[in-house]
C-alpha cells in the first residue's frame, strides 16, 4: 500500500470550500482580503478559488464585519449559501447583533419561513503572540445562543467533512479554525467527505476514564491516551466535533461505562463548554460516577502578550494527564 496523502488543516478548509463550490452554484464566499487579487486571504484558505469560480462568487469586502454577516444573512434568505470569513474570532464581536439577533433567530421568529443557511468561518487560538484581541476562544458564547450551530474540527479530515456539513446545513453554523495547528498535517479524506453535525466521535475506546474535548487539545489527548495505555490505564476519548447541539447521548453512555470523566478545552475555564458537559454528566450519569468530573482549561484571564505569560495562561497537556490520574485516585 502506498502512503496515504497528507494535508494540512489549511488545505483541508480549502478542499471543503472548493468541493462545496463545485457541487453547488449557490455557495458564495465573502470576507476581507479573500480574493486572489488580495493573495487569497491572510491565511490563504481561499487562495485559487477566485480563479476557479470567479470574483462574483469570491467577494473581497471592505473591513465591515456587520455588513459581511448581514449580507450573508440577506443572501441566504434569497436562496444563496454564503460562507463568510471573519479573519479572527474576536472580530465577530463587532457583528454580534447580526449573529445573535438575526442569524440565530430569523427562522424561529418567522415561524419557520426564513431559515438562515450561512456558515461563518473564523480563526483563533492563543499561542501566537498576538495578545489580548486576536486569541480568544469564544465558542461558548455562540453555543449559548439557541439557533446557532458551533463546530470545531480536530484533524484535517474532520475539517473537510465538518465544513462541508456546515455549508450544506440549513441553519447558521460557526466553524472555528485553530490558528496554531493550521499547518499540522493529517490524512486526507476521500473526495466529498462529509461528517454529520451534532454527533460526537468516540475516537478511542476505553474503560477506566472518559476524556471529552474538541479542537486543539485533541492533539495532546491522543498522545496522552496512548502513553497511559502503556501503563495499563484505559482512556476513552470523545471528540465533540460539534459543540452545539451537544451530543449528550455519546457523552453519557461513555461515562456510564467508565464512571470517570475529564473535560478539556482551550477556552478559559469559567462559564464554558466544560461546565455544560459536566452539568449533563451529573444530570444523566450521576449514579455511575466514581469521582468528581474534572475540567481542564486555560486560566480566567485576558490572553497575555509575553511568551512566558502566554504559555502560563494556556491549558497544558500535563494538566490533562494530571486530571486523568486524579480521577483514578478514587476507587
Amino acid at each position: 500500500m502506498s502512503d496515504p496523502k497528507m494535508i494540512t488543516f489549511t488545505q483541508a478548509y480549502t478542499q471543503a470550500l472548493d468541493e462545496a463550490m463545485a457541487a453547488d452554484p449557490t455557495v458564495v464566499l465573502l470576507g476581507e482580503d479573500i480574493g486572489d487579487k488580495e493573495g487569497g486571504g491572510v491565511f490563504k484558505v481561499t487562495a485559487g478559488l477566485t480563479q476557479k469560480y470567479g470574483a462574483e462568487r469570491v467577494r473581497t469586502t471592505p473591513i465591515s464585519e456587520q455588513a459581511i454577516i448581514g449580507a450573508a444573512i440577506g443572501a441566504s434568505l434569497a436562496g444563496m449559501r454564503p460562507v463568510a470569513e471573519i479573519m479572527f474570532m474576536n472580530f465577530i464581536t463587532v457583528a454580534m447583533d447580526q449573529v445573535v439577533n438575526h442569524a440565530a433567530k430569523l427562522r424561529f421568529m418567522s415561524g419557520g419561513q426564513t431559515p438562515v443557511p450561512i456558515t461563518i468561518r473564523t480563526r483563533t487560538g492563543a499561542g501566537t503572540g498576538n495578545g489580548g484581541q486576536h486569541s480568544d476562544m469564544l465558542e461558548a458564547w455562540f453555543a449559548h445562543v439557541p439557533g446557532m450551530k458551533v463546530v470545531i474540527p480536530s484533524s484535517p479530515a474532520d475539517a473537510v467533512g465538518l465544513l462541508r456539513a456546515c455549508i450544506e446545513d440549513d441553519d447558521p453554523c460557526l466553524f472555528i479554525e485553530d490558528g496554531v495547528t493550521r499547518i499540522v498535517k493529517g490524512e486526507a479524506p476521500p473526495a466529498n467527505h462529509k461528517i454529520p453535525l451534532g454527533k460526537a466521535h468516540v475516537e478511542r475506546e476505553g474503560s477506566d476514564v472518559t476524556v471529552i474535548s474538541y479542537g486543539r487539545p485533541m492533539q495532546d489527548i491522543r498522545k496522552i491516551a496512548a502513553a497511559l495505555a502503556e501503563e495499563g490505564i484505559s482512556v476513552e476519548v470523545i471528540d465533540l466535533r460539534t459543540i452545539s447541539p451537544l451530543d449528550t447521548d455519546t457523552i453519557v453512555n461513555s461515562v456510564k461505562k467508565t464512571g470517570r470523566a475529564v473535560v478539556a478545552h482551550e477556552a478559559v475555564r469559567s462559564f464554558g463548554v466544560g461546565a455544560e458537559v459536566v452539568a449533563r454528566i451529573q444530570e444523566f450519569a450521576f449514579d455511575s460516577l466514581k469521582s468528581p468530573v474534572l475540567r481542564v482549561a486555560s486560566k480566567d484571564a485576558t490572553v497575555p502578550f509575553a511568551r512566558t505569560l502566554e504559555l502560563e495562561f494556556l491549558y497544558k497537556g500535563s494538566d490533562i494527564e494530571a486530571a486523568i490520574r486524579k480521577t483514578l485516585e478514587e476507587k
Partner: protein, 327 residues
C-alpha cells in the same frame, strides 16, 4: 501651551527629528525580527512618520492619543519613552504594560497614550469618550484618534463621527490613508474618492480636510488648525493624511498584491529622504548635523534594547493579576 503656533524652519527641524527617531526605532525593531532576535507581529509605520511627527508637534503632553496596531510612530511622536516600547516588545516587566499588552496594545498614561487597539475602528468611539470627559471637566485637552483608510468602512467610524459632531467634541480624527487595508486597495473597498469628503455627512460641526501627509508644511498646518479648533471648542475635524505604507501590512508580508512600479515610486518618494533635502535647503541644519542626530537615535535604540534584554520577564502570577481592581 508650549507647542508652536506657526510653521517655521525650527518647526520643520523638530518634525524631521521626530521622524528620524521613529524611523530608527522602526528599522531597529525590524532588524531584530529579521535576525531572529525578537518574535513579534509588527505592523511597521514606515513611510508615515511625518504625519505622526506633525501631530506630536501640535499636541501637549496632557493631550490624549488613541491609536492602532500600526501606532509606533504615533506613540513616539506623542512622547513615549522608546525604552518603554522596546521593553514591551520584548515582553519584559519594564515595558509600558508589564509585557502583558504587547505591540498591538500599548498604553502609557504619562504620555497621554491612552489606548492602542488591534481591532479596526474601535478606537474612534473611545476617543469621543475622552473628548467628552475633557468637555465635562473643562480641562482643555484635545484627543487625537489615529486610524487607517480601511477603518472608515466600519460602522464605529460613522457612529463616532456623528457623536463627536452633535456633541461638538474636542477630537481630531486623524485618518492615515496609506492606500491599502492589508491586501485590499483603497478603490476596491472605499466608495468615496477621498476620506475627507465623508465629513460632509456630519453637518457643520465637523470639518473634513485632505492633505499630503508626507509634506511637513501642509501636514503641520492642517494639524495645527484641527487641534486649535478642537481646543477652542469649535468641534471635531476629520483630517485625512495621504501617505503610503512603505512595507507589507506586517513585517514579513511580501505584499505581492502591491504593483512593483507603485512600490518603487513610493520608495523613491520616501519622506525621510525628501524631507531631509527640505531641512538642509532651509538652512536650519547641515547634512552632518542630521547624520549626528541619526547616530544619536541609533545609539538610544541600542540602549533601549539593552535595557529590555536586561529586564526580567513578568512573574508568572501576572497572568491573573490586573483582571480586577478588587477581585
Amino acid at each position: 501651551m508650549t507647542s508652536p503656533k506657526a510653521y517655521s524652519p525650527e518647526v520643520l527641524l523638530n518634525i524631521y527629528r521626530t521622524a528620524l527617531k521613529i524611523r530608527s526605532v522602526d528599522s531597529g525593531v525590524r532588524g531584530l525580527i529579521r535576525s531572529g532576535n525578537l518574535m513579534l507581529a509588527m505592523h511597521p509605520p514606515t513611510g508615515q512618520e511625518i504625519i505622526a511627527a506633525c501631530m506630536g508637534e501640535c499636541l501637549e503632553q496632557t493631550d490624549y492619543l488613541v491609536t492602532i496596531y500600526r501606532g509606533l510612530h504615533d506613540q513616539i511622536a506623542k512622547g513615549m519613552p522608546v525604552k518603554k516600547i522596546v521593553a514591551e516588545y520584548h515582553g519584559r516587566v519594564t515595558g509600558a504594560c508589564k509585557g502583558k499588552g504587547g505591540p498591538m496594545h500599548i498604553t502609557h498614561r504619562e504620555s497621554g497614550v491612552m489606548v492602542t487597539t488591534g481591532v479596526v475602528g474601535s478606537g474612534m468611539p473611545i476617543a469621543t469618550g475622552l473628548g467628552w470627559a475633557s468637555q465635562l471637566k473643562g480641562d482643555n485637552r484635545v484627543t487625537v484618534t489615529c486610524f487607517g483608510d480601511g477603518a472608515t468602512n466600519i460602522g464605529a467610524f460613522h457612529e463616532a463621527m456623528n457623536l463627536a459632531a452633535v456633541w461638538k467634541l474636542p477630537v481630531v480624527f486623524l485618518c492615515q490613508n496609506n492606500q491599502y487595508a492589508e491586501c485590499t486597495t483603497y478603490e476596491d473597498a472605499t466608495a468615496s474618492k477621498t476620506i475627507a469628503e465623508r465629513a460632509l455627512a456630519y453637518g457643520e460641526n465637523m470639518v473634513g480636510v485632505s492633505v499630503d501627509g508626507n509634506d511637513p508644511e501642509s501636514m503641520f498646518n492642517a494639524m495645527r488648525k484641527a487641534v486649535d479648533r478642537a481646543r477652542a471648542g469649535k468641534g471635531p475635524t476629520l483630517l485625512e493624511a495621504k501617505t503610503f505604507r512603505l512595507s507589507g501590512h506586517y513585517f514579513g508580508d511580501p505584499s505581492p498584491y502591491i504593483p512593483k512600479e507603485q512600490m518603487a515610486e513610493a520608495f523613491a518618494n520616501d519622506p525621510i529622504v525628501k524631507v531631509r533635502e527640505q531641512v538642509i535647503n532651509s538652512g536650519i541644519a547641515t547634512a552632518d548635523e542630521l547624520d549626528a542626530i541619526v547616530t544619536q537615535f541609533e545609539k538610544e535604540f541600542e540602549e533601549a534594547v539593552e535595557f529590555a534584554k536586561n529586564s526580567p520577564f513578568p512573574e508568572l502570577s501576572e497572568v491573573t493579576t490586573d483582571m480586577y481592581g478588587v477581585a
